[in-house]
């Protein structure tokens, strides 16, 4: 009989309360990184497919958000560091086993790439724009005549960026809620969905919106499927993962997860998009904002809840 089980554990006031070392900066970054990856991926995809005219917002206008989004994300990441002045140590080495090293290098590559992508479109917004230096003009010409190969590179790197936001967490064996193979694809799809929602919100073109709405519906479907499988995986797992699933199935995060992420963040916008596609007038901002809110809340919940799941103490 072990009805009364006491595990007194340890209590170090200066350490134990601070082991959940990641706060708002990380979920904000994960959200912004996923958003940027989503916008860039579809900009690249429709460029490669040769639909620059039909999908102008996706290929052109939405990407103007990306450099800002990525820089905000980088600022959040920088604020998270505790030994800030040493951040450059990230770029003195490449560590293939460390997801964070991958992330640092991908960001180092994709941020300038997105700036170049946008800068070569700037004359479409400000026609009298002048680059002042001749080599910048010729570089712009080169970028505009090589959009397709650049789009391929951008797609690959945005996939790495999107999937990395999940793998960053799933690589931690010691936090059982994060430690599942589905988290990488799940965060990638969720990030793509937020990217598509943003583009859809910005688009003025009816057919473009319709195409994006269909893509978003598919992404939401995949996301629900992956979340179901994640929870099934936990329920078939060891004790620590059962406890992790318990946080969403009756535990502290039940309401926030099911109400804000599943219902308001995925199911309800999906219904609105289906209504829109079948001819009802739905203000596009509503599903878009709900999807963005759902993605953000999902990342906050995953980061917070994950740090509560432990092996000991």
């Amino acid at each position: 009989m072990r009805e009364e089980l006491f595990v007194s554990g340890r209590d170090i006031p200066n350490i134990d309360p601070y082991l959940n070392i990641w706060h708002w900066q990380i979920p904000i970054y994960l959200f912004l990184g996923g958003l940027a990856a989503g916008i860039l991926f579809f900009a690249g995809l429709f460029t490669v497919m040769g639909k620059e005219k039909e999908m102008e917002t996706t290929v052109k206008w939405a990407t103007f958000l990306v450099p800002g989004v990525l820089i905000l994300g980088l600022i959040a990441l920088f604020l998270d560091l505790k030994h800030k002045l040493f951040f450059w140590q990230l770029y003195t080495t490449i560590r293939l086993e460390s997801p964070m090293s991958w992330g640092a290098w991908v960001l180092m590559f994709i941020t300038p790439l997105s700036i170049i992508w946008v800068a070569a479109y700037i004359k479409d917004i400000i026609p009298q724009w002048n680059w002042k230096f001749g080599y910048l003009n010729s570089f712009e010409k080169w970028v505009n005549s090589n959009r397709r190969p650049i789009a391929w590179v951008m797609m690959v790197f945005s996939l790495i960026l999107g999937i990395y936001t999940g793998i960053l967490l799933s690589a931690f064996n010691a936090r059982p809620l994060w430690n599942n193979a589905i988290l990488g694809p799940l965060f990638l799809i969720s990030g793509m969905s937020t990217g598509v929602a943003t583009t859809m919100w910005m688009s003025k073109n009816h057919t473009e919106r319709k195409t994006l709405g269909k893509i978003d519906l598919v992404l939401i479907g995949i996301e629900l499927f992956l979340i179901t499988h994640m929870i099934m995986g936990f329920l078939a797992g060891p004790t620590v993962q059962l406890e992790a699933a318990g946080l969403f199935l009756g535990g502290d995060f039940t309401v926030s997860f099911w109400v804000f992420v599943i219902i308001l963040g995925l199911v309800f916008p999906a219904i609105l998009e289906i209504m829109e596609l079948s001819g009802y007038k739905v203000p596009i901002a509503i599903p878009a904002i709900l999807i963005l809110m759902g993605g953000l809340v999902f990342r906050f919940i995953m980061v917070e809840a994950g740090q509560l799941t432990r092996y000991l103490y």
Binding site: Y18, D80, K82, F86
Partner: protein
């Protein structure tokens, strides 16, 4: 060479001398510690058992903290000791998240700090500070590759366990039960 430590849970009285010795030896800031005492009380009253454990970094063979470190600040030196180079650490917290034993903490100066097995003493042939001061002699330290070292001998003759073996890290702190 493979350094390891054995903790005799039958002899430990939980006096915390190991904790204070470590803080003094390694100049650990006040209020922080690299090793600690866990008291487990288990069972149904009146049949309860108590187990006292002096715990610290497990210097795992398969150390997730070293794998996830983006700068290489966390690394392994001779004897399997896991160390952190303070000047390379950016304080990202990845290693703190990756440790199933919660053995790492954020030093007030920003970098991540943890038990070093008193590497500076061990390489001179001394015992780690915690082992040297233990009044009940319940800590054994040595080289597992040497069959005559204290730790090899005691692991040969006693039953032992490790913490959270299911985490798959192959920890090197053994608890004699």
């Amino acid at each position: 060479m493979r350094y390891a430590m054995a903790v005799d849970t039958k002899k430990c009285v939980g006096c915390s001398d190991c904790v204070v010795a470590c803080q003094t030896e390694n100049n650990v800031p006040i209020g922080y510690c690299r090793d600690w005492i866990v008291e487990n009380v288990d069972g149904t009253y009146p049949n309860v058992e108590i187990e006292l454990r002096s715990e610290r970094c497990n210097h795992c063979d398969n150390s997730p903290c070293v794998r996830c470190c983006p700068t290489g600040a966390s690394h392994i030196v001779e004897g399997g000791i896991v160390l952190v180079t303070h000047e390379k650490c950016i304080g990202c917290g990845a290693c703190i998240q990756s440790c199933p034993y919660d053995a790492r903490y954020s030093h007030p100066d920003g970098y991540v700090d943890k038990c070093t097995f008193c590497e500076h003493r061990v390489k001179k042939g001394d015992q780690p500070a915690c082992v040297a001061v233990c009044p009940t002699k319940c800590l054994y330290f040595g080289d597992l590759d040497d069959p005559y070292s204290d730790v090899s001998q005691v692991l040969k003759h006693r039953k032992f366990k490790v913490l959270a073996p299911e985490a798959g890290t192959n920890p090197q702190i053994y608890f004699l039960t």
